[in-house]
């Protein structure tokens, strides 16, 4: 009996460790999903301001990025721009929030990818913390009623972007 019990007692420990190692310590569920998106005021690189109010009635894609965030931000940048060009006429607004960056480098990044959707810096990290951002890139999907519907950590892919946008666009039509 004793001979079986000792190895048997290791099993729950191993299971715990297996579960622990499989979970990503960096993957934190956002408590903001399902709640109203926090208000923000963004000063755009092209001049002018943009706030959450301008998202009213539109589906919003709020993307947090940095020029030093390589390769993820560089991977998703063309996808975001293409998504913007495709969906802008369907009532979708893409917004880029540049965090923890320097202005020249951020502008260079925007030039590199020919970004045409509004982008602005968050020099004091106020928007980042309000949105519970802990890294770049992170993308938030906001529905027409201003509710936060999803958070995506890491580079956005085209299928994901399409799926989320179609979902939110369909949702508003009901």
């Amino acid at each position: 009996m004793k001979k079986i019990l000792v190895p048997l007692s290791i099993i729950p420990l191993l299971a715990l460790l297996a579960w622990g190692f499989r979970t990503d310590p960096k993957a934190i569920p956002s408590p903001l999903v399902g709640k109203p998106a926090p208000p923000f005021k963004l000063q755009l690189f092209d001049g002018g301001n943009l706030s959450l109010e301008e998202l009213r009635g539109k589906v919003g894609v709020l993307n947090f990025w940095a020029s030093w965030c390589y390769p993820a931000c560089y991977e998703e940048a063309p996808i975001l721009e293409a998504g913007w060009l495709e969906y802008r006429d369907r009532g979708v607004l893409f917004i880029g929030v540049n965090i923890q960056d320097t202005e020249p480098k951020a502008r260079e990044f925007l030039r590199l990818f020919n970004h045409t959707f509004p982008n602005g810096p968050d020099p004091r990290g106020l928007i980042s913390v309000d949105y519970g951002v802990y890294g770049v890139p992170e993308t938030f999907f906001i529905d027409r009623k201003g509710m936060m519907r999803a958070k995506h950590v890491g580079a956005v892919t085209e299928p994901l972007l399409r799926q989320k946008l179609e979902e939110l666009l369909k949702d508003g039509e009901k």
Binding site: P25, I28, P29, S30, P31, L32, P38, Q100, R124, G125, L126, S128, V129, D130, Y131, G132, V133, Y134, G135
Partner: protein, 241 residues
């Protein structure tokens, strides 16, 4: 220091050319004070003295009375007797002005009062640095952490309590943001398990030690074959011989 030295020297000179100096000096008074004003808005200016105009705090309090005294001492001889009433009125008006400005400045200073940095650090110690691994916001040199410290500082300056600030961060990041999980619900396992483990270990040690000592005590006394004992005795005797 410059501002203190400059102010009295400049004012009489400007006054010398004027006869009735009630209104002109009044016009200069707020202007000079206002120029000194914005320095108070700079936090920590009294400590840093990075401003080329020197520490701004003592300037107005000394400047007010000294200026009027010097004005009068130098200005009185050239003053027409008819304007003494105007002078009194001007002095009074200026005193009112100075008082108003001083009160305003103190109000601004009180509003911009530096937050207790110990409090900022204590709160930052409770928050997890979001870009680090197992490091508090107080310990991390990262930009995110310093921005978070600034947010803590600003919220403290607005009069928020520690709980309110922690709740704000929890509402944005979830309980994950707290370095030590709150002692309720499932989290109690984390808090209780180490002590339960310690207790279990102590009990195990006690039981094992007891069993060992008992088994030693219960061990039968050494049984030696009498013949063997006799033989050893004989051989030792032989060796001694």
């Amino acid at each position: 220091m410059k501002s203190i030295l400059l102010a009295p020297a400049r004012v009489p000179r400007s006054l010398q050319g004027r006869r009735g100096w009630g209104s002109p000096s009044l016009r200069t008074a707020p202007a000079t004070t206002l120029r000194a004003g914005p320095q108070y808005l700079v936090p920590y200016a009294p400590f840093g003295s990075s401003s080329p105009l020197g520490p701004p705090l003592p300037a107005p309090s000394r400047w007010g009375p000294r200026r009027s005294r010097e004005c009068c001492a130098q200005g009185t001889p050239s003053l027409p007797p008819s304007s003494s009433k105007a002078l009194a009125r001007a002095t009074l008006t200026r005193a009112v002005w100075v008082t108003i400005i001083l009160v305003l400045l103190f109000a601004i200073r009180a509003m911009a009062a530096p937050v207790n940095e110990d409090e900022v650090r204590e709160i930052a110690f409770l928050l997890r640095c979001v870009v680090c691994q197992n490091l508090s916001v107080a310990d991390s040199p990262s930009e995110t952490a310093s921005q978070m410290r600034q947010i803590v500082r600003e919220r403290l300056a607005l009069g928020e309590s520690r709980e309110q600030i922690l709740d704000y961060f929890v509402s944005k990041y979830g309980e994950w943001i707290l370095l030590s999980p709150p002692r309720r619900g499932f989290n109690l396992v984390v808090w209780g398990l180490p002590f339960a483990g310690l207790l279990a270990g102590l009990v195990t040690i006690a039981v094992v030690v007891r069993r060992w000592s008992r088994s030693r005590r219960e061990e039968p006394a050494e049984v030696v074959d009498p013949a063997y004992r006799e033989r050893v005795r004989r051989e030792v005797q032989e060796l001694d011989r």
